[in-house]
């Protein structure tokens, strides 16, 4: 692999890692400046895991909410909440 090609890839990777950092929520960005790529990847993994847990938890709560509604009011409620957001 030529040095020139690997330098271009390195820049591209740095750019992508920075982009990932900007997507992490504030609390996970931990301080100013660029963290190491390894740390950022670890934070990214933690963030994805917490998002997956959120989907799991919210699915359960939606299921509980649905149980208390009849079909038509559940749909109406969802549309209403969508229009409000």
């Amino acid at each position: 692999m030529s040095n020139r090609r690997s330098r271009v890839s390195e820049e591209e990777i740095n750019r992508l890692v920075s982009k990932l950092q900007s997507l992490l929520p504030e609390t996970r960005q931990r301080g100013a400046g660029r963290a190491s790529a390894a740390k950022l990847l670890k934070e990214t993994c933690n963030y994805i895991r917490s998002l997956n847990r959120d989907v799991d938890d919210l699915s359960d709560r939606l299921s509980a909410i649905m149980a208390t509604m009849d079909s038509s009011s559940a749909e109406a409620e969802m549309v209403r909440s969508l229009l409000r957001s």
Binding site: M1, S6, V8, S9, E12, I13, R15, L16, V17, K19, L20, L23, L41, K42, T44, C45, Y47, I48, R49, L51, N52, D54, V55, D56, L58, S59, D60, R61, L62, S63, A64, I65, M66, A67, T68, S71, A74, E75, E77, M78, V79, R80, S81, L82, R84, S85
Partner: protein, 147 residues
Amino acid sequence: MDSENSACGNPNPNPTLGPSKLMLAFRFLRALSLVHRTTPASSRTCRGRRIERAAYASMAYSAGTGRGWSRAVLRRLHHRARRRAVAPRRLSTTAGNRAEALRQLVPGGAGMDYCTLLEETADYIKCLSMQVELMQGIVDSSSSYGP
């Protein structure tokens, strides 16, 4: 957009800007409504699992087939019944197999080169957090009604 594609060897000609929130909401609500109609009222856990699948499905459908992660999610959903264990393709790039943990978290991540993995991760995170926001919004407004 074109230069980053060629630098990473990304085969996708049309990188998505991400699904619009409205489109995502429409698909998800439609799926939720179907779950509500077809799941017996007594089985809360079963309904919960169906809702979760609906969440990932509507995310993936909204993202379309232009993304590796969404294709992987749709494949997984369609082959759910068969449950085949597919050995991930091992890449021997000069960058090595970096970010193993991340590869396991991003659908389809195992078979991607490092550059593509980073791009896909960014898109996946955007869509996933949008989906969570959407679901949270529905739960929040539903909770403000009733006893």
